[in-house]
Structure formats: structure tokens, C-alpha cells
Symmetry: D2
Subunit: 403 residues, 4 copies
């Protein structure tokens, strides 16, 4: 259980930190301005393509992908501190490095489970950052944290599969560059509970797809990242070879996908919390009220100390989960992945709330990244399974020791 950074990690950290300073942070106001000036809510600020080129040139590309054939080949423990750094500017850095959800998870699936043809057609352009994708799992009508509830049908019809159902929170689907939907549905609704589901690749332009609307998150469309779509699949027909893995393997594939997705979220949230703490410290050093700097107010000091203590603990737990994923696999690390999914978003939300409060009205506004970081931290308490589902599952594991 050695969490020290190895030379590879140290080298990449140094390179990434320099990249953040030289490219990412200066691009933040540019990105914001381009966004504000856009008339199309789903427009992508042009600065992003520049950042992608720069990141690729700097050798900071596809760091998330453990498969050396397709990506950087880093372990989770190596990737953790890098992903954390991208969290400092989560609206720009992850996408700039081609390390943003949901493409990361989709690329992992295609890399691990895709046929050579599927990899050639979809994975390759995604690895290049040219094509974007969405993952269509959650449904409006059922509690999707219980995957056995999924109602979308994927029915075999000769050489095709026919898809019918309604999805929402398909993030990225409204991105004009989105070319692929990976859809989860039931091929065998009567089969064993965890063998009913399959996954299938659906081209964005297939007939029968109706992208109804973008969902908002505390009023925000996340338009620059392709939004969160509600989509109706009405007799959407795709060739049978589009199936990802075999029939009935959808649940297992989803679990594999979610493990990495969850820890990536947590890594970035550590970075968000660190940036919030930095902003809070800078703010209170330079702001006075009632005759002294806020930094000398006891309540503010309490927030700063608590933030540091909470961040340290959360990071260590994330690193332990990463180390376990590397050494005993995602399944062996299941309890720890649940633990970080419970602990880290709540920690980040807490730190962000205090940082916002320390900023006064500026904290809720567009003048700091805090409000948007808060929105994402809060949302991750729900995304990929609400806290309560993870807690109940973790408790059952703990209780099993004493049965």
C-alpha cells in the first residue's frame, strides 16, 4: 500500500502542472467569454480545440486509459494525482486532455469489450478527440440506481436489433460532435436478474432517435459539454454486430464502467476541493470586515482547518481505492469505491460551501468557479447511484462479517 508517486507520475505531474499554468488557467476567461457570446446553447467554445492540440503536443492525452494499446497505460494510482489536477479546472482540463466523462467510460468499454470493427469505427476517432459520445442508461420512469429496473428494450430482429425506450441524463448527447450512443437495455426481460441487460452501439444519426430536450442542473444546461439529454428511442434499428459484448453482459459491463467512472469523479473532486480551499485562503487574506482581515476570524479559520483535514482524509482513501483497483481489481476494491463515492462528493460539497460563504455574494456568481464546482459536487451525490444506495450496500458488506 505505497502511495508515494513513482517517477512516471512525478514527471507527468510536473508536466501537467506546467500545462495548467501555461494553457488551462489562462483559457478559463476565454472559455467563459466565448460561452457567453454564443447564441447556440450547445456551441463548443473554440478555445477547446486549441487546448486539445496543446495537450496532445505536450504528451498529456488519454491519460485515463489503462490499456497501453489505446491509451497512456497508467495505473489508477498513477492517474489519481493527474486526474486530481485536472479537477482544478474541471470545465476545461479533462476535456482538453481527452479525459472527460462520458467519453472516458465509453472508450474504456470499447477498448476492453469492443470488436476490432467497433474499435476501428468508434474508438479510434474518440481517441483522437474528434468524435464524442453519450452513455444512455438512466431512465426517467424508474429508479435507475437499481439497474434491474431498466425498461428499454433491445430486441433481436433478424440481423438487427431494434431499440425502444426513453432515456435521460445522457450527458454529451447534445454535443454537435457526438457520434455514438452506447445504450443499455433489456434483451431478455425474463432472464436472471443480472443477465437481462445488454449494451449496444447506436450511431447518433440512426433513424428513430428523438433527442427531446436538455436537462438542467440547478438551472444550467452544461451546454458546452453536450448537455444532458432526454432521448426517445422509437424502433431504432441497428445491425446485430453493434452489440457491445454478448447478450446478457450489459449489467456486468456497466459495473466495470462505473468503477472507473466513480473514482475519476472522486479524483477530480479532490482537485476541486483543493482549489476551493486555495480560493478561500486568498479571499480571506485580502478581505476585511469589521476591522480585521477575514483570515483572522475564528470561524473562517475553523473552515480552513476542517477543509484541510477533510481533504487529506479523502485523498488518502481515494489513493487506497486506486491502489486496490490496481492490485486486486475493481471487484476487490468495490467496498472502497463505494466508500469514496460516499465520502468524497460530500467532502467537496462541504468545502465548496464554506469557500462560497467566505466569498460573500461573489461566491455564488460567475466571478469565481466555486458555484459551478458546487453544482457538480452536489450532483455527484446523485450521479452513478445516490449516496443512500451505496451506503446500504456497504452496510450489508460490513454486517456480513458478523453474520
Amino acid at each position: 500500500m505505497d502511495f508515494a508517486y513513482d517517477p512516471t507520475t512525478e514527471e507527468l505531474r510536473a508536466r501537467l502542472l506546467a500545462f495548467m499554468d501555461e494553457h488551462i488557467y489562462p483559457a478559463e476567461p476565454v472559455f467563459a467569454r466565448q460561452l457567453a457570446e454564443a447564441t447556440d446553447p450547445w456551441a463548443r467554445p473554440p478555445v477547446m480545440e486549441e487546448l486539445k492540440s496543446a495537450a496532445r503536443a505536450a504528451g498529456l492525452w488519454n491519460l485515463f486509459l489503462p490499456n497501453k494499446l489505446h491509451g497512456a497505460g497508467l495505473t489508477n494510482l498513477q492517474y489519481a494525482p493527474l486526474s486530481e489536477i485536472t479537477g482544478w479546472s474541471a470545465a476545461l482540463a479533462p476535456e482538453a486532455l481527452n479525459c472527460a466523462a462520458p467519453d472516458t467510460g465509453n472508450m474504456e468499454l470499447l477498448s476492453e469489450f469492443g470488436t476490432p470493427e467497433q474499435q476501428e469505427r468508434w474508438l479510434k476517432p474518440m481517441l483522437d478527440g474528434a468524435v464524442k459520445s453519450a452513455f444512455c442508461m438512466t431512465e426517467p420512469d424508474v429508479a435507475s440506481s437499481d439497474a434491474t429496473n431498466i425498461a428499454t428494450r433491445i430486441e433481436r430482429d433478424g440481423d438487427n436489433y431494434v431499440i425502444n425506450g426513453r432515456k435521460w441524463w445522457s450527458s454529451g448527447a447534445l454535443n454537435p460532435a457526438c457520434g455514438l450512443f452506447i445504450v443499455m437495455g433489456k434483451t431478455d426481460p425474463q432472464g436472471p436478474r443480472h443477465k437481462q441487460q445488454s449494451m449496444i452501439c447506436v450511431p447518433r444519426d440512426a433513424a428513430g432517435i428523438d433527442v427531446r430536450r436538455g436537462m438542467t442542473v440547478f438551472g444550467n444546461t452544461d451546454g458546452s459539454h453536450g448537455g444532458h439529454a432526454e432521448i426517445v428511442f422509437d424502433n431504432v434499428r441497428v445491425p446485430a454486430e453493434n452489440l457491445l459484448g454478448g447478450e446478457g453482459e450489459g449489467f456486468a459491463i456497466a459495473q466495470a464502467r462505473l468503477g472507473a467512472g466513480r473514482i475519476h469523479h472522486c479524483m477530480r473532486l479532490i482537485g476541486k476541493a483543493e482549489r476551493a480551499l486555495k480560493l478561500m485562503c486568498e479571499r480571506v487574506l485580502h478581505r476585511s470586515a469589521f476591522g480585521k482581515p477575514l483570515a483572522e476570524q475564528g470561524v473562517i479559520q475553523d473552515w480552513i482547518a476542517e477543509s484541510r483535514v477533510r481533504i487529506e482524509q479523502a485523498r488518502l482513501l481515494v489513493h487506497k481505492a486506486a491502489w486496490l483497483m490496481d492490485t486486486v481489481g475493481n471487484k476487490g476494491a468495490h467496498a472502497e469505491i463505494q466508500a469514496i463515492k460516499i465520502a468524497v462528493p460530500a467532502m467537496a460539497e462541504w468545502v465548496l460551501d464554506r469557500a462560497i460563504q467566505a466569498h460573500g455574494a461573489a461566491g455564488v456568481s460567475q466571478d469565481t468557479p466555486l458555484a459551478m464546482m458546487w453544482v457538480s459536487a452536489r450532483t455527484i451525490r446523485l450521479a452513478d447511484g445516490p449516496d443512500e444506495v451505496h451506503k446500504a450496500s456497504l452496510a450489508r458488506k460490513e454486517l456480513k462479517k458478523y453474520r
Copy 2:
């Protein structure tokens, strides 16, 4: 300390509850649609004018204004349960009844401190709901919770005053119908700490006013309510008779204004929390996961019970503060107003957070009013003075008992 509703209150409550059912709730989706379809971010959904007519016809108009000459003449204790009801649909009902901030506070100022000419020119059209207003107090460069920090200058020059300064969070200023800015600034920067400030009425179209931008609140412009403007006053010149009250009375007038404003916020937050609790209950009764309705999950029940307990306590404290304002005046009720300002937004935020969590992803989206209600509750922990300022002041009062 009798909190029972008197016959006047009972009658108005019945009328208002019926109005909510007949007019307000049905208008919510209309309002949302008109908002979504608008191209101007500061456009006002047309349904609002219909609601205003209906409210006026129903005798539900200017209920907030204690002065019988100009408004309904209700006590705070009478108004509290009515204001609470409007909180159930805070984006529509308060404005529909001409009871929305910042106009309420501004009308109170004009009603109490305005000259007959000022009342004729500004109060009258505001009482009619024809003209809107903004209150320009907070400044970006200083901790405005400490009013002695205010840097804007109001300087006498012959028969005029000349205003220079920068304000932000001037809510409502971007409303096309906004006709009046009430501006706080210093007429005597060398005077005694609480005698330096004055207030002045500035027509929206005065030369030298530059409305720079709308501030966002967790990404939202609040455009349909006139947004929150950053405004530069550059040698803005108005006649001397525009001064509200006398020179040096600005701080005292602001205090008077804030007392009512704070309790109105708290009344509405009680309503928001009640609606959140209702939505949470309905959701969990009709949603199942892992084999049983969410309503039977212990954690959800805990949230519901805690919500009820917290709402009850908060309402009683608001009613006590209202009763004190009615019997011993705003100054005598100062500790209780601080207490509700501390307790009620935090309570509402807590209830809303749980209601959101119980809704899953729907909870953060546009499909329920919860996310926007959360934003407002969170923001009120900062608006009109952050919690920490009120707590420090309240603690000093408590400590004084034992010195």
C-alpha cells in the same frame, strides 16, 4: 404572544390558497415555457401580467405594506402566513401579488420616508405594479455587510446631488420596467460612522448610469425578475429633492428596510420548505427501488420527520419575531430577526437538499421547483448579511447579559 390566526388572516389565507390553486400553480408551466421560448434574457413572461390582474381583482394586492394609506395595512403576524403561502411558488406568487423584493422594501421606504412628490412620482406607479425598482446598496469592492464600508459618493452640487460609485447585486435593475434606483452612498464620509450615509432616488434613465452586466446565481440570471445588476454610476446628477429622508439618515433607513426584508424572506422560505416536504412525500410514495416504495426506507422517513420538526420550530420563531415587530418594533425584535435570519435559510436549505436527494436526478433538474428553491435558500444565507455577521452580533447581545 398569541400566534393564532385572527379572522382577517383566516379570510385572506382562504382567499390566497384558492388563488394559488386557481391561478398560480396552473401558471407555473406556462411561465416556464414562456421563459424557455424567450430570446431576450431579461424578458418578462407575459403570463405575469395576467396573474397580477387576477390578484388585484381578488383583493390580494400589496398585502405586505403595513401602511393602510398605501397598502393592505396588515401586521407582520397577519402577513406571515400569507407570505409563507406565496413562498410555495416564489417565482410567481410574490410578484403576482405585488409583494416581491426589492419593490416591497422600496415601497416601504417611499411610503414611510418619501415626500408627497416622491410618493406621487414613484410610489404610486409601483403600488400599481406598473413600475419596478432596484435597491443599490452592495458594492463589489468592500464587505458590504459592514455598511460603514460603502464607498459610493453622493455629493451636493448646487441644487443637485452627483453620484459616483460601483454597485452590484442590484436586483431587478435589468427589468425593462425598472424605473427607479434607490441608491445608498456617502454624503459625509468624515461624519460619525452611522451618519455618513444617505439614500437617493435615481431615475433608471439618468445620464451616467451604466448597467454593466447581470450577476449569476449558481449560473442563473434570474432574468425574469430583472436579474442582479452590476452598475457603474459615473457623475450621475439628480435634483436635490430626490434625497430620501435627510442627509445622514441612510444607515437608519437601511436598517428599517432590512428588518422587514429579512422576515419576508424567512416567511417565504417556510413556504418553500413546506412545498419541498410535500414534493418529497409525494415522490417517495410513488417511487420504488430495491423492491419497496422509497417511503418505507428508514433514511427517507428520517428526512421527512426531521423536516417536519425543523419547519415547525422555524415557523414558530418567525411568528414570534413578527409578533415582536408588531408589539415592540423592529428594534425591539432585532435579536429575533437575527435569529430567524440565521435559522430559517439553513433549515430550508436542509429540507430542500433532502427533497432533492429523494427525487434523484429529477431533483436537480427543471422538472421540479426544488433546485431553484435551493438556490434561493442558499443565497439568502449570504444576502442581507451573511450568517456569520448575524451570529457574531447575536452572541454579543447574549454575552452582554453577563458582563
Copy 3:
């Protein structure tokens, strides 16, 4: 819903406050010394009898008992502020005024449900403060918050009842003056769920009673108040006329008893919290660290303000519950009684925790009453039903509105 104190209450408050100053507070160190010097762990410090005489002489006696024939005949709303005052010195004042549990609940039962013979034999000496009693309900082997679990048997045998079972947390049973156990058990284990139980009066010296041990509460025996006994009833035989109420009425009688017991606990907890806040204020005004009085530390001020805000809310809710008990009865006030049972001990525990922390090591020691007050507040989160049971029940009530 008028919470103002009426003249009777005002007069009694004045008299009680004077009594506290003249008799109770000066007796606290005497009580502590007598306790420390005693060799018998169940000895009763002699000063208590002096206080009882003084209280009776001052007309501050049996204030808790609403029945005018036997007690002071106060309403719950009248008694609430008096009971709160006794909470300031909860180890002395309630017993000094003959208003201490479990005798209060037992006297209420005898007053309301007892036969004239039972009242003559047991109630009369209890009203005089000469005889003490215990209430034997909770059992070690079952979750007693669910009264249908009770396993103790009360079986008719000719003119007698025969009692077999094991009880614990029978508070007061180890008091040498204890003369009566009111025992709850099942007379009809096959009957309808809430008709199986009965209550019976058992003389302390009946054959077959084995008081096994005193339970400790965070290490304390509460010996001066008769401790908390574990008792085995082995074929204990009493005359049939000792039954309290009819067969099968035990559950209903217990409910009646618990309503008043719970609100009395809450009233006193308000008083404990108030005293804790007073002690915290005094401490921090007179203690300096790192160059300034603790009273000027922001974190301490936060505790003081939060304490005041929480106490105010809790008191109002207790008063509302009392008012409801007076106007619509204990059953009509059931939700509010649950609400205070949830809110008030948690509030008091929170305030006490901060007051302890503000005192440093003195706070956990015998040098302030804080540690013992904390123990009682913490314990009441369990006594008379743990929070979780009340919350689940309250949630079901709330959900019922929307079914």
C-alpha cells in the same frame, strides 16, 4: 395559540425563581458533599428533606399534577416555564418540589386511574413526598420501544395476580424510601396487540422480588435518586384489587403516562440548555487564551449564537405542544410531543457539548453541572423511545397526508 404567561404562571415563576436563588443553588454544593461523603451508594443526601420542607412551605409542591384534587391543577402551558426553571438544577429542584420522575408519572396514573383504596394507600403518601416509587416497564431481553414485545406475565390466580418477568431501568427502585412498583406485563398474550397489557401495583416488599443491581449511565449510578434497577419478579403474588385500571388497559395507560413524561423531560432540558448557555457565557467572559478573552473568539461566538437560536426554537415548540395538550388532549398533540422528543434532547446535547468544550477540562468534571446534564440529555435520546422510533412514526403521519 397564546404562549404568554398568565398571572398565575407569572406569580409562580417569581416565587420559584426566588426559591431557586434562596434554597436550591446554595444547596448544590451541600448535596454534592453529602453525596461524596456517603458510604451507601443509595443514600439520600439529608439536605433534600430540608429542601422539600422549604418548597412545601413556599407553596411550590406537586405543581406537575393537573388534577386539582391532588395537585396544583396547572395546565401544561402553565407548568412548562416552571418545569423549565427546575431544569436549571435538575438533580435537586424537581425532587425538592415533589415533581421528579418517575413519581410524577406514577402519581398521575394513580390520580387518574387509581381506585379510592389505591389512592389512599399509595397516592397519598407519595403526594406527601414520604413514599417513593418505580415504574417497571422496560425489559432487557426485548426492544421495549415496541410495547407489544413485553414478556413479563401477570396471571390471574383466584383473588390474586402472579407476576413473573425481568425488568430493568426501573428508576428509583433502589431508593430506600421506595414503597411501590407499578409493573407492566401481559395478562392476555393472545389478545389484540394493544389489549394484552395490564398494569399492577406491587409493594416494594412483596415476596419474590429480587432487585439484582443498579444500571449505570455513563458510569453513574444516579444513586441519590434511587438508581436504575434490574429486577426479577419470581412468582410475585399480589391481591387482584392492585390492578391499575382494567385488564388490557395497560398499553393505553402507558401512552397517557408517557405523553406527560416526555414533555416534562423536554421542559427541564430547556432549562438545562439555558443554564449551560449562561455558564458558557460567564466562562468565556472571564477566561483568556492566546491574548484575548474566549468571548472574543469567533468560534465561541458562533456556539453562543447557535445555542440561543436553537433554544428559542425548541422552547416555542415545547410551548406549542403544551398548548395542544391543554386544548386538544395528549392524543391530539401526539405529533408535537414526538417532535419535541426528537428535537429537544438533541438541542440540549448540542448546547451542552459546546458549553463543555468552552470550559476545557473543567467541563467534563465535577466542578460544573455540565457533564451530568449532558449525560441526562444524551440518555433522554434513548429513554421513552429512541429518536428513531419517534421519527419513523412522525414520518408515517406526514406521509399519510399525501396517500
Copy 4:
């Protein structure tokens, strides 16, 4: 930063775990019974000497002491999991292994700073477990978290030092086997702030020592461990060679002592929390209410999951602090030692509170170790500096990064 257990640690863990099962847990009821039967409040249950012999025979002795000449020579990281295990039975195991405070800290001081004569006279019998000691630092009249406040005088008088002052919370001083007081006082009250203090060895039987009383902790004397004494030093005269280190080195020595003491507390608290979680799990699996085992109640599951998540994070932070102490020294690990001092007692208190609640009334009683473990966790939030002092200091460190 490798937290894996090395072979030495693994071997000692296995041996210690076996020792706990074979000796410690079976001795718990014996210890409790001997304690209950003792008439002298400061009596030491005889079973302890048996345990000490067994531990020494098992090679589990003085594990805490890093100096190989005198102790086991383990690193902090090696000792951490062993100390954690002793926390499972903190009333017995630490003392049985001669690893209990305050002797551990005192032995460290003597081992590191003692002269050969001091080591021969005091350290040797303490290493044998034959003689006990106390550390006299905290004073009743000043905020001792600020060591510059200390008022006790140590004045040179010829070949002697003369000590005058009042100490309290001198743990262990009432132990009949206590032979040594290490006393902190001022030799140079006019010197630089951190050079005024010195430490001196005072035989327990020196003339002028008056052990006034034992302080209680939530009503408990901790009598079996020598209690917590209030002591008056009235012209206590000892030879000059009793000085520990040089004049003016008292503050620095105290800091050295406190670092290890704090982490030992935290290690044991992890063990306490683990045992509480185990007891909670076992309890809820075997207890039913309202028709199902408590283990199936959602709220209980929430507590269990949260406990696991919090314990994991806390342990990792403790291990990191231990690793830092081993690699960069106590001074370099200062921030992390503060962080665990803030985080771990609060975590343990939280877990213990839920474990208590899950046990119902049994949880506060003598029938589980929970209540006493809670008392110790709560007290450590105050001991060795209250949370607030550590937080303020940690915040200043964080802020320094951005000045």
C-alpha cells in the same frame, strides 16, 4: 508513503491479536467485578498484574518505546496497528503491555532526556511496570492549552529547586504505585516566551505535596488507573539534579512528549471505533423491533456505512502522520499530528454515539464498553489541547501558503 505492514508488524499483530483473545477479553469481566467489589476507589484490580506478567512473557512489552535500548524499538508506523489493537480494550490492554499514558510519555522523556542517574532511579522500575508516574502540567487557573500561561514556579535555591503551584488533571497520581511526578513550571518567568519553562522529577512522597482530590470525567474517577489528581505543591524541595533536561527546555520537551502522546491516543481511538462498529453490527443483527432485525433498518445501515467510511479515512491519516514522524520527524509531521488530533476523536465520538444508540439503554450502561469508550473519546477532544486550538494553528499554516 508505504502503509503496508512489514513482517515485524505482521508478526507482532498476530501475537497481540492472540493475546487479546486469550488474555485481555476474558479478563474484562474479571476486571469489572474486582473494580465493583473494591472499597478503595483507587484500588487496582489484581487481575492487571497477571495480565502484565502474561504480556511480558508473550514479548508484548514496552512496544511504544522507539528507543531500542529501553523498549521495543518500533517505528510509529509499526506501532500504529498494535496500539490500535490495544484500543479495543483500552481499560486493560495498554496498561497490561506497559503502554499506557501517562507512563508512556514519561518513559519517553526519561529515555530521551534523562541523565543516567534519572534513568536508573525512575526509568528502570517504570520499564518493569513496577512504578507508575504522573505528568503535572495543566493548571486550574489558566488556559493551559497556551503553555506560556503556566503559573507554577520552580525556583533554584542552592542545590535544590523549590516548587510552588497548583496542578490538576495529573492522571495516575492517585495510583498507590505512583512514585514519580514530572512537573512543568517556570524557572525564568521573564525569559523568552518558550524558554521560561522547565521540567523536574519530583518523588511522590516529597514533603509539601498535597493531593487534594480526584477529578471526575462525566462522573467517573478512572480510579483503577490512578485517577486525575488536583495537587498543590507547597514549597516542595528537590535536589537540583532532578531537573529533566536543562533550564528553559521545558516547553520544547513538552512538545516532543505531546506529539507521540497525541498519535497514541488517535491509534487507540481507531481501535475503539472499530470495536464499537463490531458491537453495533452484532447488536443489530440479533435485535428485532417492529417486526424486523434492526440490521434491516435503513437508518442503522446508514450509521454502519458512515462508520466504516469515517474509520477508514481516519486510520489512513493516522498512518500518514506516523509515517511522517518516522521519516521527517515530529516537527515535520506537526500539521498531520494536528489533523489527526482534530479528526480522530470526533470520528470516534460519532461512531460511538451511533453504536450506543443502536444498543438502546444498554448502550449507556455497564453492559457494554461503549459508554466508557465514549467518555474517553469526548475527553480527548479537550485533552492535549482542545480542537479549537489545533484548528486555529492548522489554519494559520494553511494561510501561510498564500501570504
